[in-house]
Amino acid sequence: MEYLLIIISAIFVNNIVLAQFLGICPFLGVSNKLSTASGMSLAVCFVITFATVVTYLINQYLLEPFGLTFLQTIAFILVIAALVQMVEIVLKKVSPSLYQALGIFLPLITTNCAVLGVAINVVTKEFTFGGEAHMLNLGEAAVYAFATSLGYGLAMVLFAGIREHLAGNDVPKAFKGLPIALVSVGIMALAFLGFSGIV
């Protein structure tokens, strides 16, 4: 039950792009085409889940016992950068076809603030799923991270769909490109506001 609440909350209610404003740059950058958007979503999904679990363990068994939590930011970003590199190398060896699909997006992910944002959120914030406020345990953190990245994918794919249609429309000159995209996201976020309060 708790896991279900986490998943719904992370995908719809607190959607990472539309409610938390994380990972906006790649969201705007690669959402021109549906195919690249889904590729990017997959890669992000992979990295967010993996990175959150690793940084959670590092925080709990390395930083906290030694009173080094002030090094959180620097440690996490290094772990994420290293992890992205590793994922890239492993993918290249193990599944060249997946690497072909995700390859170009992987280096971009290091500076995707969604990854660092989720990792920091998970270890510093209290969450309320079904009443009680508490810190997440490892299992919940992993589920939360995975669900959050699904929410990222959802927003990305929906938005790419909208943008593909926008491209063929007659948009006033000053609105061309990003402005109209931002206004569309705003309306989408307005729709997602309707989910608030469910969990």
Partner: protein
């Protein structure tokens, strides 16, 4: 212009940068440790003072494992009689956790409340932070059924923010329940 990317150069450079950065951070951390602790203590003191009657000595933070209680402080008058408690109480609101500091007199009457942190909707649930609003004023000296009127209690909810009001009320109720328990044990000991 950049140095050659030989393995030795790269390893040397990374190690040196990491060492220097770690040293800088270590120094800054040591320098700011005391101010950070002071700022946190001052904030805690201020939030406690806001919800308790004036005067009296406030104890160190005490912990307990009651649900949603983050810790509490006991205020005693000069001759050692307990005059009030300040309880840090957390519940789940509309947008996330709502954490209150609740001042409670030993007989279970609420003295005053204040919001420590919340993530409620601006303009709706976030109104619970407005000092002097009728929602906040009703807590001063509140003694009654701790539930919003919709649920058959005596608490006037914030318009259009029943969930926030419920969370707020529940946090107060948790604090009062804790104090009732504590006050009971105190009298038994004496």
């Amino acid at each position: 212009m950049a140095a050659k990317s030989s393995l030795k150069n790269m390893a040397l450079c990374l190690t040196a940068v990491c060492l220097i950065c770690a040293a800088i951070l270590g120094v800054v951390y040591i320098v700011t440790e005391q101010p950070i602790a002071d700022a946190a203590a001052a904030e805690a003191q201020a939030s406690i003072a806001k919800v308790l009657p004036e005067g009296g000595a406030i104890s160190e933070e005490k912990t307990c494992d009651a649900e949603g209680i983050g810790g509490y402080y006991i205020q005693t008058s000069g001759d050692g009689i307990v005059t009030a408690y300040a309880v840090k109480s957390t519940t789940g609101g509309f947008g996330g956790p709502v954490t209150l500091m609740v001042g409670v007199l030993p007989d279970g009457t609420v003295f005053n409340t204040s919001v420590l942190s919340h993530s409620e909707t601006p303009g709706l649930g976030a109104k619970c932070t407005e000092e002097g609003s009728s929602f906040r004023e009703q807590w001063k000296g509140f003694k009654g059924n701790l539930a919003v009127k919709k649920d058959g209690g005596d608490v006037d909810a914030i318009t259009a923010s029943t969930i926030t009001s419920r969370a707020y009320t529940k946090a107060v109720a948790q604090a009062v329940a804790l104090v009732n328990g504590l006050a009971g044990t105190d009298t038994k000991e004496e």
